[in-house]
Structure formats: structure tokens, C-alpha cells
Symmetry: D2
Subunit: 356 residues, 4 copies
């Protein structure tokens, strides 16, 4: 994971600024003969697309995936697959009055410190925008196609919005809920909490839960390539994620070993405090993660900040913004998990049984 490149065997390189001509990804290290079509990629892109519900940003993007290489007759050639999505609705005029100002909670200051350029529309030279994740999601759809025949299912949902927390994990409900809430009983309160944030010109944080079922045991390469290390790093690479748990997560800090160890019997593990990973290697159980997502930094309320000249400025951000990032982050978390797992699976294919 260096710059915009990641992966060992299945490698990707993403590109594109939110306010530039296009965003996309190059995927290398694919097996040949894998059935992929643009519909499959499009379906995942549609899930992360803005403008699909009243709860997410009203920016309209067709987000039509175009595959420039790597496919013939619906199957991978084994060559790099390039997916491009053109930006069609980049209204940078909305950002006009914010040029040269460091928006609080955004990457503007840090990007300026690093790259020397003035704050850009879209934030962070347009790479810290959620739009950057188009390439990840497209690649994730391809990674999923590698894992699907194994029975691996990767799902993420909005586990909480502010203090409203889902108490159940109903994946069917989440799949059709505009907020990806997995609890029919909590969904109305979540929607209300987001409506309230919007009404107040504010935003709200939340939690994203990720569950991977069907992952075979044996994935992950200690000690730096541990599966949880790679998944954890991948989740932190998603903008707005400030905390990551695996399995029982922070709860382990208050437990005794007798409480936390997952006992085994003839049917396997009796519990899953480990979250499906022990010693950095998958155990075959469900892999469970929880992500803490910060409230969208773009808010309509007045905020104190400074400009490039170091002078104080009071700003108010207009434009189209999701009051809560969770519904948008869920498909990105799925994509990142798919990329890490597919890469780990290919690495395991390389070595398992190679000594004869």
C-alpha cells in the first residue's frame, strides 16, 4: 500500500480527482478467464453512487463504468483491466468562495503542507473526496468475482448513526434500505437523525459493520502481512474512518483471558471474539469488523478557520454533502475487504501445496 497503489499479487492503481475529467482504476494480477461484465461493476458503483436517496448528497453522476482493457467476450484476458468513470457533474462553482481557505475537518491544510498547492475544490487535490472511491469499488467488484466461487460473501451496513444503533443484523433489509440500516426497527430513527442533522446544517457520525462469511481458513501472511493488519490498514485508508475493531474490538480491554478466549469443541469454535482471525490468519469463521466514521466535515454552519494568508476566516460551506458518510462508506469497506481477501487468497494459492 504505497501512494495510490496496493496489492501483492492482485494489484490496483487508482486515479482521478473529484473535479477532474475522470476517476478510475487499473487492476493487474488477475487470473485469465474470469467472467466479468460491466453490469457487475456497474451494480457496485450504483450502490456507492450519490443522488440515489434523500439521505445522500444530491450530486448527480451517471457513474457509467467504461472498461478500457483486460476483457474480451466478458472474460478477463489476464492482462490489466482498466475501468474509467467520467465525471459529468463537477460543479466547482459551489466551492468558489472557499478557494484558498482551509476547511475544518478536511484535508485542505495537510495537502497544502505536503504538496504546496492551494486548497483545491473537492479537497485534498480532489483525492480526499469520496469520489476517489469509484476506482476502489470497481476493483472490489472484480475482486469479489475471484472470491465468489469459494462462497465468500462480503457485506457492510450502517450499524449506527449518532446514538441510534442497529440492534439486529438483517442483511436483506439493509440491502434495500437507503441508509443500509440492518435493523428495520432502528431505520426510522436513523433517518430522522440524519434529517435532523441536515435541518441543522450539520452532520453526524456513525458506525459501519463489516461481515465476511465463507472466507477459508489459512489466509494472511504473518507478521506484517497478517490478515487483520492488511484489513485494518485498508479500512483506515477510507476517508473519515477514525477507529477500527476486529472481533470483540475494544471490549477485550476489559476482559479476562477466560472470558475472551474462544473455546473449541468437536464442532469447532464456540465463540468468535477473535473476529475470524488468530495470529493474523483466518480461522474459517466469520470475519467481523466495526468502523468508526466521523461526521461529514462539510457542514452549513459557520466555522472558524484560516486562509492561506494565515488570517482568520469565518466560513459556511454550501454545496451538496451527505450528512452521514456511513451509507457511502459501506460499499467502499466491502470493496477494500474484497481486495485484501482476494489478494491473500491468491497468495495462499501460490504457496499451499507448493512443497511436495
Amino acid at each position: 500500500m504505497f501512494g495510490s497503489f496496493m496489492g501483492q499479487i492482485l494489484r490496483i492503481a487508482t486515479f482521478g480527482e473529484s473535479h477532474g475529467p475522470a476517476v478510475g482504476v487499473v487492476i493487474d494480477g488477475l487470473p485469465a478467464g474470469l467472467a466479468i461484465d460491466e453490469t457487475l461493476i456497474q451494480r457496485d458503483l450504483d450502490r456507492r453512487r450519490p443522488g440515489t436517496s434523500p439521505y445522500v448528497t444530491q450530486r448527480k453522476e451517471a457513474d457509467t463504468a467504461q472498461i478500457l482493457s483486460g476483457l474480451a467476450d466478458g472474460r478477463t484476458l489476464g492482462t490489466p483491466l482498466c475501468v474509467v468513470v467520467h465525471n459529468t457533474d463537477a460543479r466547482s462553482k459551489d466551492y468558489g468562495e472557499l478557494l484558498g481557505v482551509f476547511r475544518p475537518g478536511h484535508a485542505d491544510f495537510a495537502y497544502h503542507a505536503k504538496y504546496g498547492a492551494p486548497p483545491q475544490p473537492g479537497g485534498g487535490a480532489g483525492r480526499s473526496s469520496g469520489r476517489e472511491t469509484v476506482g476502489r469499488v470497481a476493483a472490489g467488484a472484480v475482486a469479489r468475482a475471484i472470491l465468489a466461487p469459494l462462497g465468500v460473501v462480503i457485506r457492510a451496513c450502517t450499524a449506527a448513526v449518532g446514538q441510534v444503533r442497529a440492534a439486529r443484523l438483517d442483511w436483506d433489509f439493509a440491502a434495500q434500505d437507503p441508509l443500509r440500516c440492518p435493523d428495520p426497527d432502528a431505520a426510522p430513527a436513523m433517518a430522522e437523525r440524519i434529517a435532523q442533522a441536515r435541518a441543522e446544517g450539520d452532520s453526524v457520525g456513525g458506525l459501519v459493520r463489516l461481515v465476511v462469511s465463507g472466507a477459508p481458513a489459512g489466509l494472511g501472511d504473518p507478521v506484517f502481512g497478517k490478515l487483520d493488519a492488511r484489513l485494518g490498514g485498508a479500512m483506515f485508508s477510507i476517508g473519515g474512518v477514525k477507529g477500527v475493531e476486529i472481533g470483540a474490538g475494544f471490549a477485550v480491554a476489559q476482559r479476562s483471558g477466560g472470558q475472551n478466549n474462544d473455546a473449541m469443541d468437536e464442532n469447532g469454535f464456540r465463540g468468535n471474539n477473535a473476529g475470524g482471525v488468530l495470529g493474523g490468519i483466518s480461522t474459517g469463521q466469520e470475519i467481523t469488523m466495526l468502523l468508526a466514521v466521523k461526521p461529514t466535515p462539510s457542514i452549513g454552519r459557520p466555522q472558524q478557520t484560516i486562509g492561506l494568508d494565515g488570517q482568520p476566516r469565518l466560513i459556511q460551506i454550501k454545496g451538496r454533502h451527505d450528512p452521514c458518510l456511513c451509507p457511502r462508506i459501506a460499499p467502499v469497506a466491502e470493496a477494500m475487504a474484497a481486495l485484501v481477501l482476494a489478494d491473500a487468497y491468491l497468495a495462499q494459492r501460490a504457496l499451499a501445496g507448493a512443497a511436495r
Copy 2:
């Protein structure tokens, strides 16, 4: 971060099983002329060494670092530096009766699923043992030497043991406290909690806090090489870490944007909810992280598990084990942070100002 290799410019490769002849590390990508001596590395190794207090495992290891290459007259040559520490006190007889049994909470089952070998003494083919971290700590000491002239200070402490939580951050106290507790008032209760766990033949989880001060703004390479992604992945690579926070961490989930955004004025940031990283790039503020550490899986109480034959077994683990891993993990967290930051710093040196 693949297998036991990590890093882009500053690269390391660790090796060694807890019950094999030696553990160590090769460090490549070092600048020439860096002042390093074995004392400096030894000091950090001594901080992670077992047998230094009643609170940590009673295994005795001299842990004497031997530098096999890369140095002449106390300065780096620019060539790979290899540090080896021989294992001198590997009493594998303590594990005798556990051979062929999957210890709960340990890597035994996962390693067996991956590598096909029967459970090994030391766990996970000896690589999921805490002893593996010797190489990391030695390399971290070298990474620190790169960062020190910039004024970067990296410190970690035991922020909680079970429900006993430190309320203050007194680094001087932590430096001499056997548990690395940073709060003189909480230290006795922490010690008592650990003594209790030991008396009960059990263990207890905790929290490790990491604070980096003096890191320059501009470190980190979006989007997969974000500083928090790399730090987060590095922390999850430490055995026993089940949760990682940056800045405000999980608290952000319940906040509004107005509460969470760090406003700025002519003196810079007014708060640090971000934890020193925005958009994956350091802001020049303190970098703050919190790690959730699970209770030591090796406990003396009877535990239900299975053997290689799949049959149930009731086991009781003897041997020498830390009741709480936090004091041992703190120096490893420092080392991992040093390695990530030094690598990110060198990457920034490569590019900053390269366009003229």
C-alpha cells in the same frame, strides 16, 4: 507489508521463532552516516525484555543485540543492517503436554490450517510469540535515530488494565513504572489488577496509548499509503491488538460535524480530534492512537479445546506468561510507529522540492 517484509524506502525483514536459535531483523534503505550503536538498540530491547519486573513473564533472556552488518565505527554504511538476538532460554519442555492441542485464543489452529504443521511450542510456528517483536524493536530503534534530529518523539504507555484506566499522561512516570502506567494515582490499582489476574490463574486486557510529537506536516501518501492507514495496519500487525483508534476514535461516531471538526485560528488548530492526520497526511500536530489489547490467551485455568484429532481436550497452560500484554506491547507500538514514520519521512524527502 507482505509476510515478514515491510517498508517502501526504509525496508525491514524480520525472522526467527521463539523456540529456534535466534530472532532478528535486516534493515535496508538506511541513509549512510547515521550514528547507531548497539547500546541504543539494546536500550530499546531492554524495555521490551521479559523478566524485568514481577508483572511480566519470568522468562530470562539476555536479549543481547549483535549487529552483523551495515555499521562501521558506529555509523551506518548505507548497506543493510542486520541485528541478531540469540534465544538462550527456550524451555520448550513447558509446552510438552500441549503439543498437538489447539490452545484457545492462540494462533495454533490458524497456523495449522495454513501451514499444515502441528501446533508448535511458542504458538504459530513460533512467529506469533511476543518474541518475534525483538526484530521490530531493534529496527524501531534505528528508525528513531532517523527521526530524532527532526525532534520527533514517540511514546507509548499502558492506558488501562481491565477497568483501571489512567487519568493522566505523565510520561516521566510511565518511563520508570514497570507497567508503563502514565498515571501515578492509577498505577497501584493497575498493579493490583494484574496481581489479581495472576492469582486467579487468569489474565486481563488493556489499552495502550501512543503519542507522537514533533512529526512534521506532510507525511503520508494518499490514498492507500495514507499515514493513518499505514499506522493503523502496523498496529494491527502486533499480536493481541483487536482495536485501533486515531484521534477521537470511536467517539466520533456519536458526534456532529460542528463538534468534531477542528477549527483553526492564527495559532493553528484549536483542537486535535483528528489525531494529527487529515486526509491521510500529517498536520504537524500530535499523532495520537489508542490500541485495544486482548487478555493474554495463555492462562492457567482449565480450558476446553480440541486436539489435532478433533477430539475435545481440557487443558491447563503452565509456563511463564504476562498476565497483561500492555507493558510489553507499548515499546513494540513505538517501534512500529517509528518505522512507518521514518519511511514516510524518507518518501517525503524524495518528492518534496523535486519539481523545480
Copy 3:
């Protein structure tokens, strides 16, 4: 250099099949603020473009570079730069009768063995076509922009066509010669040799000479990242290159040390048998390389081969093919050298002076 990815700090990922929709490249690890325009990239692409002289393939491609990301106002943002060139003249009907047949000297058989797919038009799933080099050349133009302020000049020419060898190295002449012959006296004979090959429905091999002047001393990272190892590997990654020399090359095999060692005096090196690299590190002298280029495998003469069914077939290849690859390979060799040198230069920037 794995798959279609290469580079440590300056990293590239190329994509695109000759008969697919587009070819291109993603370039990551660029310094921000570098002046780049599409004209600059276009100029290099025009140099490798087919259809520009009677001596090269008559396929017509506009090869218009489109920059999808990474630039604003003619300067790099520090984010990945993506260049795409759409394929406009892919007449795959020319290949119709060759489908399912392994063309001698082509990648068809090897690609089939690896990817399981039937031989594709364009050869090797379209990635062993010369068209794949569009992405390399575009990236090379960007790499050159990094090196140019240092005074680094990278030039390649056609040193021989069959037995016709250039005796002089007149770069100005080569720059305007359609064959890139650097010797005005040899140019007519080279042209004649190529015309003869075409008339015979055959092709002819040749030599490409590469000279880098102005490269600073100190580039290259022993032992596997030696500058000559990286340059050598990069040159062998160009299709059709079967031999590579650095400095005196194969002539050293017949020399004594007294003859081959480059003595030094107060003005520096007295000779340059080393070719500008000693111990894998640049010396500041000219870096000189010679590449052996095989005759174009696509020839109009009848050839004996087999089909997918293993049965013998006599084939005759039609279509548009360069009788000699050297004029087309020269700009690719320049691009590869630029990429390796810029990456090595950035690595040296990272470390030189980092120990204080």
C-alpha cells in the same frame, strides 16, 4: 517490476491491448508542481507512432494523448497522472485467418500456455504488441520532466540494421532521420536494407544504442537495485530485445584487467569501459547501453507452424508490420531509461543527507 507495474517511488501501471478500446498508463509518486503538458507527452508519442515514414508500419493511429487526472493548470498535483490513448485503427480482420494459429517468433504459444486463451489478434492477448509501449512512452515523457532540470539527456538511435552499422553518433542527424540512424553515411544503406527486407516479404534485426548524459553520480541501490540491473531488466522488458550490453559489453570477455579498468586522473575517468556504472552505482559519466533487437517476427513469407489442434499449418502473415523494429524501439528504450533513472534519482533524494 511485477506484471504491468514497475517502480519504487515513481511507480507506473500500464494497460491496454492493441486491439482493445485504449492503451495507457497511471503514473504515481510524482512530485507536485512539475510542469507537464499534453504537448510534451504528445511529442514523445509522435516519435514512436506508426505510419510516420515509409520504413515503419503503415497503420494509422492519431495517438492523441488524453490526460484524465493528476494535472491542473499544466502542473502535477502530486496525485496519480493517468494518460489514455484510444485505439482508432485496429483492423483485426487482417488477422482473421491467423486466429487459432501460433505465429512463429510471436508470443502466441507462450500466452496460450499461460492464460489458456486462444491466440489473439495483436499477439499475446494484445499486450506483446508494440502498441503496449504507448503507456511506457507517455510515462517516460513525464519521467524526463523530472530529470531535465538536472541536465540529464537520454537519447537512443538505430545503431545497426542487419549488417549495416552506424560508424558515427550524430544525434542531430538521428533526430530527423526516419530510421533514427545516427550516421549520415550509413543512413542510405540502412534504408536500402529495410527496403530489401520489405521487398522479400521478410524482416531484419538490428541494434539500438542508448546514451544517457548528465546523470549525476550516486544513482542505484546495491545489490538488487543496482542501476545497471534495473536498466538491464527494463531493456529486456521491451519486446524483441534479446541482448543488452552496458559500457564495453561483450568485448570485456576478451580483455585483461589492465585493458578494461578505467584509470583515473585529476580530470576524472580516462575511459568509460564501465558505461557509467560501477558497483551498480552511476559514476557521473555517460551511461551507455547497446540492445540487440530481433527481426520483426511478422513476415510475409510462408512459415511452418501449428494450430491449437497441434496440426501443422503453413501460414503467410499479411497486415502492416515494420520490417525493422529498431526505429520504434529507440523511443521506448529512452522512456524505460527515463523511468528507471527518475526513480533512482528520487530514491537518492530520499536518503542522501538524511543522516544528520
Copy 4:
């Protein structure tokens, strides 16, 4: 291949200076269960060891391999394998009078330009010494163990010493010849040529031929990870190699396509001008390479050079040096080929059949 690290799946990191305490290697990405013993590694180390014949340097090194990790009961654990060889006979006094002087043909000047350090005994901070290759050869022995069950045989020999060229390829003879000459008829003349060089206080260049038989078709990953690109880069990483050919090599430059293309019939390829690689992918034929090796730069004759002060110096190098490097380079070339091929083989295992 960055610095002293190489490999994608099978990764190695070498370390050690010729005049430091030890040299060695860490090998990661090994399959578990591979039978390896120190004898096997030792046998290869003995083949590259100095002091084994009158024709190679008289330095005496036991070169006893010590395995510090990664093995239990003669089988790999899947964890990193570390091999260390201690230096026992580093007579740096021989170099005393050369300190601070740039020896012609050596890495001294380039290392000084890069690392700022004064010329070191052993050359290039001790990393451009032939002794550095101990780690490569040890790793190569392990890589060979991965390939052996496939029937892959990797052999290199001294194809020429100066103008004396072997006309036959008798591997059995080469295996026992102190110069690794594969031609019984040429062996006496080669020995005489070397004796002459020694008598004259001079050295002589030569050629090394490498032949890999039994490599399966399908290895190599276009476009930068082409098998020939990786082999070519690996060969150029060996000190003293100034030219590399694959298959027909430089001879192709004077051929027509009709002459050079390898026709096929129902028995497969009729020739092997390609050297076993087409489009960067192995064809299943023998892989054949030829390396041009420069004369040993350390010669006893007076040479003109300069010191650190830039002032001219006339030097005469004493000490123990091979008059011809070829017999020493042959086993290193085998090791490098084994490492590249084993890595490519594992990568192919990862992807072949992964799409179902």
C-alpha cells in the same frame, strides 16, 4: 528488486559486508513443509567458495552456513528462513595502503559519490565484493528445492576465458572442472590462460553460459515482469556482468525474420533462437543465457588513479584475487536464475486456474 531486497512472493533480503562479521540472507514467502537441510545449502556454498582450486582466490573461508530460523526437523515452517555465514578470514591489512584511493574498475568511486564514505576495504562498503553473493547462493539453494520436484535443472558454466572458448557443453565435465569449463578439450587452454594472467599480475574476462531445462511453459508476467526482463535484471545485478544475452542474443541483429523465427511442427518448436522465452513468458523449451564477465578489476600491475584528495596515485593491488571471475560467477548466476524462476512459478501457481 530494490536495494538488497528482491522478489514478489518468494522474497529475499541479503546482508553483510566482506570485511564485517558475517554475510547472509533472509528468505520469506516459502511454502511450509519443504525439505531443506544445511547440507544442501552448504553444497552450493562450497561451489562458490574461494580457496577451492589454484584458479580462484586463495582466501580461506569455511563458509559454514548456519540456519537461524524457519526450519524444524529439516522442513520449512513457512516462516522466514535466515542463513548466516560468519566471516573468518578477513585480512583487511592487505588493503591497508589502498585506503582512501579509488581502485580502477572497482565500485570505490561510485560508493563514495553515493554514501560519502571513504573507499572501504572489500570495495563498495564491502557490498560489491564477491562475498556478498553468499546470501544469494544460500537463497538460491532453497529456491532450487522448490523447483526440483518440477524437474527444473539450472546449470551454469565457464563458456570462455579470454579468447579461449568452450566448443562443447559437457555438464558432467564442467561439474568437476575447477574452472567449470564444459569442454574437456578447451579446459587446458583455459587453465593456461588464467595461469598466464596470474603470472602477468593481470586478469582476464570471460563468458558464463546458463541453461535451464525443465522449466514449465507459462512463467513470467508481462509486461515489466516478463521472465526475460526479470532474469536479465537479475544477471546484471551480479558484479562484473557487462552483457547479457537470451537465446540467440546479439546474433539476431544480423538476421532476417525468416532465419530467426522458430518454426513449429507436431513435435513442438524446431529451434530455440528465442532462448525459451517468447513475449516474456516461458515456452517450456530450454532457457539459455550468456553473460559477459569483465576481467577482475584487482590486478597486481601498476595502475593510475586518484585518491580522496583528487591527486593522482600510482597503485599496485596486492591481496588474493581470482584472475578470472567466471568460475565464481557461474554458481551465482544459477542462484539468481533459481530465485527468479521459483518466484515466477509461485506467481503462476497463484493465478493459474484461479478463475472457475
